[in-house]
Structure formats: C-alpha cells, structure tokens
Symmetry: D2
Subunit: 106 residues, 4 copies
C-alpha cells in the first residue's frame, strides 16, 4: 500500500494540487467518485455493469480514500482491521447470521 | 492488503452474508458509507471534523471497496496505479499544474 | 407540483421507462445526480460553482425525487411539512440556535 | 411550493442557521440525505424497504434541495421543466424507447 500512496502523492505534488486536497474536499471527492461508480449499476442488474468502467471508478474511490487516509496519518490496514473488530461486536455471529438487518434491528 | 481482504471475507462468511454482497449492492454500500463520511464535514471546516469518526467511516468505505474489488478479482494496487497513469494523460503537468479545473476544461 | 410530476410521467412513459423506475433504482438515481451536483463544488468555494450547471444538476435531483415520491404516492408538500415538524422536536430553538451540532450532540 | 420554502426558511431562521447554509454545504447535505435514503434499500429489493422511513429520508432530500434552489433564486418548476426539455433532446423517443442506455451510448 505504501507504493500506491507514494505514487498518488507524487502525482498530486507534480501538479501542485495539495492546496486543494483538504480533508473536506477529499471526502467530497470520494462521494463524487462513489456516485460515478454507482451510475454504472443504474437501471441494471449487477451482471450488466461494464467491468472495465467499474475498475476505473473503483480505482478513483480508492485513490481519494488513500489520500484522505494519508492526510490523517491513518494506517489503512490498521483502521480496517480495527473497524472489523468493532463490527464483530455490533454483529455477533449468532444474531447476524444470514440476515441483512442493521445492527439496530437485530 | 491480502490480510485485509482475507479478514473481510472471513467476517462476511461467518455471517453468511455473501448472498447479499452482489456488486450492485456493494456499490450502494460504498455510497452509503461515503455519505456517512461526508456528514462528518457537514456545515464545518475540515479542522472541525471528528478525527476518530472519520477513521471509522473511512474504514467502512475501504471495507466495501475491498469487497467489491475482490468480487471482480481486481488487484487493488494494479488498478489504482493503472488509473493514475490514465489520469496523468488526462491531466498533463504543464496544463494541470496549480489548477483545480476538470480535464474537460483544461 | 402536479404539473411537474405529470410532465415527468409523460416523459417517462413515452420512452417506456417505467420498467426501470423501481424505487431502489430511483433512490440510486437520486444519489448519482446528487453526486454530479456535488462535483460542481469540488475543490471550490460556493461562489466558484457554475450556476447554470448547478441549475441543471439540481433539476435532475428534483426530477428523480418527484418520481420516487410519485411511486409511493407521497404528497411532497405534506411529507416535507411533516418532516419539518419532526425536526422542530429534534432541534428545539433554545438548544439548536446558532449551532451546527447534530441533534444527538445537543 | 412557496409554502414549503417559506416554512423551511422560517425553520432555518428561527435557529439562526443561515450562516451554515452556503450552497456547497447544502449540496453536501443533499448527498448525505440521499445516502440515508439509499441505505433503506441496501441488500434489499425495492419492496422490502420501509415505506415510512423512505418518506422521511426523501423529505430530507427535498428539504435541502428546496433550500439550495432558494439560495440561487431558482424556480423549481421552471428548472425541472427546462431540464425535461433538454433531456428530451438527449433522449429522443425513437432512440431511447425501452432502453436504459445512457444518451452517450444511444
């Protein structure tokens, strides 16, 4: 992951874009890219989405997510594993198994 | 990253949730989590957002993004580096330096 | 508002699009359009957004929101006024005045 | 629609919230609420979404959309009807009938 982040930072710095990349706008960018990803599934079944375009839009979501993580000094592996632990408490296997209910409704 | 994805898959399978995790709903989930991340910046400057909550919501965005990548068999490093290359063509340094304009307006 | 909805329905039916317009995809469409609206403010201050484009993207958000309301038989005026009443309870003037805090933090 | 907007403005002004309601944050708010609406359909078919909650979240989307329209002095009816006209050109009946394709793929 270090290589991804280093390449993103290099790309950003070459263009002098750090001035725009405050956390709020990075969170905005994640939403904009997530919306473009979502559009690929609009009015469609999963199987009808264009895989190549999904790849590109998902890459954009990752790119801004990595940049936001970097801004805060988060270690991506650490924060995801930590969140999985929290979710394991919210969604204990015996209650959550086989149901799509939100933890507030379990 | 393999460890993150393996842990996510284990968490999902223990709860028998693969049945819900089709690509379309994973793209939806990314948007839902991106919206929750965005809410932390609503009516605020970047500096006023709660760092701990940002960490949690960003972790959720990553979790569903990794799960969607896994569904398609994408290598996250590969797709992000490939997208950076494409973006480098869309945003050549000499045109894009210091401006936040979209490539269609450069 | 009846005229807006009637025109939207006519536009939809002429294209035989009702088959795609299930509530879930309409909610998706609202998110996609909301993302396009948001993009107009990305890396910018409010004042720098292109007013004409804001008009178009906001119109798209309204269009799909009206179509979703119609699907459920909601009266838009009624549901908004009802929600304002609920919000007035969540955000009593004496506690909420001048603060951007969420009701859970008041 | 005037009554909706007037009630929203009154609600906002009583709480002294106009200071937070710049266009960029209103666009953010629309996305946040659109995400909450979308969550009601996550991992589900349209028919499984909770109608009452859809009503509330859709009302929130409308509320911020009306507030953003008001900020720019847009007449909602006018901008939606105008957008339908534009879309009718992008999606001529003979090409768009019965297909969910984007206009760029028609």
């Amino acid at each position: 992951m270090k290589e991804i982040i280093d390449t993103l930072i290099k790309f950003r710095n070459e263009r002098d874009w750090e001035q725009f990349h405050n956390p709020k706008d990075l969170a905005l960018a994640i939403n904009v890219e997530a919306g473009e990803l979502l559009e690929l599934f609009l009015w469609k079944d999963s199987s009808e989405a264009d895989k190549e375009k999904v790849q590109e839009e998902l890459a954009d979501v990752f790119a801004f997510a990595f940049l936001l993580a970097e801004k805060y000094g988060f270690d991506v592996k650490e924060i995801v594993l930590e969140k999985i632990k929290k979710n394991a408490e919210k969604y204990p296997v015996d209650k959550a198994k086989g149901t799509a209910k939100k933890y507030t409704d379990l």
